[in-house]
Amino acid sequence: MSTNSANGEANSSLLGRLRSPFEGPNTIGESRGFWVGFLVAVAALVVYPVFGDGSQLSLFMILALLGLSLSLVWGYSGVLSFGQVVFFGIGAYTFGVVSINFATPGGITAAVVAGIVGGGVSAAILGYFMFYGGVRDVYVTIITLVSTIVMHTFMAQTAGSEWAIGEAALGGFNGMPDIPLLTLGVEGASYQFIYNPFPMRIIGIGAFEISPFYYLVLVLLVGTYLALRVLVNSDYGRVMVAIREDEDRTEMFGYNVTRVKFIVFTLGGALAGLSGVLYAARNVYIDPTVFSLLFATLPVIWVSIGGRKSLLGAAVATLAVEYLRISMAGELALVLLGTLLLVTILVLPDGVVPWVHQRIVTARIGPGEDNGPNVPETSSEVSD
């Protein structure tokens, strides 16, 4: 990984060695300035609940995890999936069902794990079915889209009392209320994250309450982002990107393309499942709207606007678009969202964040050198 010091910084320094697993050609941001900015942004998120609505931002950060899962699957491996919300919803429902049946701290902790596993396993089943069946490209997209609609149709008619798993009634369109409060740990040594604010007092600002759930989500989001950076900059990540760029050629080089896609899809499903668990835990409620066509397309919108080949873009755009969507309440909200989407994809097909990054790099090194040696020039590729 010695190719990472694009700016000629000493790689042997402690900081350089610490940073190197997170950097590479597959993610943007490999300068000291980027990491300083990153720490500032995380610090801003840490103190945000003091000034703003932390409960709302925690929802956006949960959805950012869903955006990251799509960025991994679509942006890095080239599999456009409309089905991330399927795994999201299955994660959420699994969490709900297990935790309602075993409403003890240990049971709820197990429910979290069950939700993540549920998301991963459902993705593995669908992925096995598709990738080992030779389904490719846009057909994968259509199958995932159809799966979403199947789930929506199915969950919407589970209103009857026969649709209950143990004590948990699925509830059809009315959804599943009364999901137990998220508590992690075992009996005797557990901590409740929801509705358990601890009061704080800072001189000059006054008294306020902060929610431990917000920090749980923040830690998970930052941790996931960094872990995914390590993954996409590893050798495995390079294979993923190779598959995105040219599937047949990667196969020719002897990589098991089908298996890589299968594993990445499963991983993306588990991540979406985690996001769904947190979503259900935050709302203490889950209903079939998570499988609706609009919700299924939202991840695609976030990732397209932010830049699908950029993890940072996916996360930032999720926060920004969701904030816009909530704050533009009223009739015109959807019109503006649609216009934003349309203009972004037409004018900046690679997304906003990579475009901003390109501007910054050009401003610093000057034009002509903005494509470093690590960035393959797509237009110079030999066409087949």
Binding site: F129, V138, V150, V335, G338, L341, I345, L346, V347
Partner: protein, 312 residues
């Protein structure tokens, strides 16, 4: 016996619904490599235009339907010029900025999907703001036929006839006319077609217009039998995509075959277990079909033909 007639009528109904829902989408997807997620909203435009032309302007129903198709076709051409090919914005930007701002969306499947989804959001919400949550519906013409203790809307049977007529007309247009030959040449090899003197730009524009007009006509034809809401396009979208994908690369034949197969499954399962199971059966059948025929029905037929030729 009565049940047999029921089943046959339900099959005709499902067949017409699937074929009409898919026709416009199949042309745009199969020929231009553009996934039009606003397809449902094109149907919406056709349905609303027809309804408003009939109720507000008092036009006869058939004329109103033609108006619905034409208006949607024109809207499709504008969409193609502004969004899909970006020709008009680029014409402006060439003169102001000196460069193109939009790269055409042809064969950029994912991007075209996202862009047209934005368009669909705008259109649905725009319709809701302008016309409210529903508008008055036209009454279903022709009355009903009755047999035994059952009765069935005649209009539904007319729809089945119209859908077959549309398939034949589209097939004729794309395989037997000069326009069809140019259009198919453009799809097969754009550069060569250009070298042979085909105006490929115009071909794309017209093809998109025809696809849109077909979607509009679908909306127009279904206007008397579905409720007029801004989200009415959604109910067509799923069947349309499933039929197009199951149909495979040969546009008209594929739509007809998948309409037949999926229509039969929908009719049988709806008849036996109710519409909900029917719908689920349709989607599951599509999943299974894609698993075993990744190229769709017509792709499979082509493969079989090729294999037979090789073995001879």
């Amino acid at each position: 016996m009565v049940n047999g007639i029921n089943l046959a009528l339900q099959f005709l109904d499902s067949f017409a619904f699937i074929v009409l829902a898919a026709a416009g989408l199949a042309i745009i997807f199969g020929i231009m490599g553009v996934i039009n997620l606003a397809h449902g909203e094109f149907i919406l435009i056709g349905a609303y235009t027809t309804t408003l032309a009939a109720t507000q302007l008092g036009l006869p129903l058939v004329v109103a339907m033609v108006v619905g198709g034409v208006v949607t076709g024109v809207f499709g051409i504008i969409t193609e010029r502004v969004i899909i090919s970006g020709a008009w914005p680029n014409w402006v930007s060439q003169r102001t900025l000196g460069r193109d701002v939009i790269e055409p969306l042809y064969d950029r499947l994912a991007d075209s999907m996202v862009a047209t989804f934005g368009l669909s959001l705008i259109l649905t919400q725009g319709a809701r703001i302008r016309f409210g949550n529903s508008i008055d519906q036209i009454s279903t013409p022709f009355g009903a036929i009755s047999y035994g203790s059952f009765s069935y809307s005649t209009y539904r049977i007319v729809l089945a006839g119209v859908s077959i007529g549309l398939l034949v007309a589209t097939y004729y247009l794309f395989t037997r006319t000069d326009f069809g030959m140019r259009a198919r040449a453009t799809i097969q090899d754009k550069e060569t077609a250009q070298a042979m003197g085909v105006n490929t730009d115009r071909m794309y524009m017209l093809t998109f217009g025809i696809g849109s007009a077909l979607a509009g006509l679908t909306g127009a034809l279904f206007a008397p039998v579905i409720s007029m809401q801004p989200t009415l396009g959604d109910q067509f979208l799923v069947e349309a995509f499933v039929a197009v994908v199951v149909g495979g690369p040969s546009v008209v034949l594929g739509t007809a075959l998948s309409g037949g197969v999926l229509g039969a499954i929908l009719a049988v399962f709806s008849n036996l277990y109710g519409t909900f199971i029917g719908r689920i059966a349709l989607l599951v059948a599509a999943l299974i079909a894609l698993r075993f025929l990744p190229e769709g029905i017509t792709g499979f037929i082509e493969q079989v033909q090729k294999r037979r030729q090789e073995s001879e």
